[in-house]
Symmetry: C2
Subunit: 108 residues, 2 copies
DNA sequence: CATTTGGTTAGCCATATAGCTTAGTATATC
DNA sequence: GATATACTAAGCTATATGGCTAACCAAATG
């Protein structure tokens, strides 16, 4: 989870992910839009792979990078759970407020 | 976006967020379950605040921390967009495969 | 077989991160 | 007014991160 969110906390890496939703590609092609030396770029790919967001395979002298199926699932699940917990609490608070309001008008 | 994902890339901070979905709390109380010196813990709160995940206000000598409404929205939106792009591409590929298959059986 | 091309390895540098301690400051509480 | 409480500020350390260059390896290509 740490590595997943950390992998997404960098614009270069998010850019690579966005590119990969349109299909796999070799490293050279992925690197092209990012003004940086190849070894530096490679580290980002490594980090994406460590996070499980991406898989790579060697074809000839090229390394092809592809998005992992359900790559985002753990992150989405966690976020969804938090949002739900938060909204349920707001609902309970609202419910409580409504009931208190009803009580006060009963008194009148 | 960078700071948002980075803020979530740490178990202490995710723990704080999870706790806050059940309601706001002062720093001391939030810090209690995390075995670490207060100043160290404070830095995590600062990082959550910088990411816009959390707001704080001073009440007497306490600092109350609360989850920001729609705190996760940007992260969720980005993830959702990627997932959608990815799935649309898979659909197109499947569609293409089905059509190719149909063509080949037509030939037979 | 010489030369590109696409990665890869190794190692360096600057900054950021996550932790610490020690020493304040401001608000309660006795 | 003295003391305790809840931060807050300053400054230190170790490791991680994001970038670089230089040199190397292996698979094309001429």
């Amino acid at each position: 989870m740490d590595t997943l969110f950390a992998a997404l906390a960098d614009p270069t890496r998010r850019g690579v992910v966005e590119r990969l939703t349109r299909g796999e590609a070799p490293i050279k092609e992925l690197a092209a839009p990012h003004d940086m030396a190849l070894p530096s770029f490679m580290k980002h790919i490594d980090r994406l792979e460590d996070a499980g967001l991406v898989t790579t395979r060697k074809v000839g002298r090229q390394r092809i990078v592809a998005l992992t199926p359900d790559a985002f699932a753990p992150a989405e699940t966690w976020l969804e759970r938090q949002k739900r917990a938060w909204e349920e609490r707001l609902d309970r608070l609202e419910d409580l407020a409504v009931r208190l309001e009803a009580d006060s008008t009963d008194d009148a």
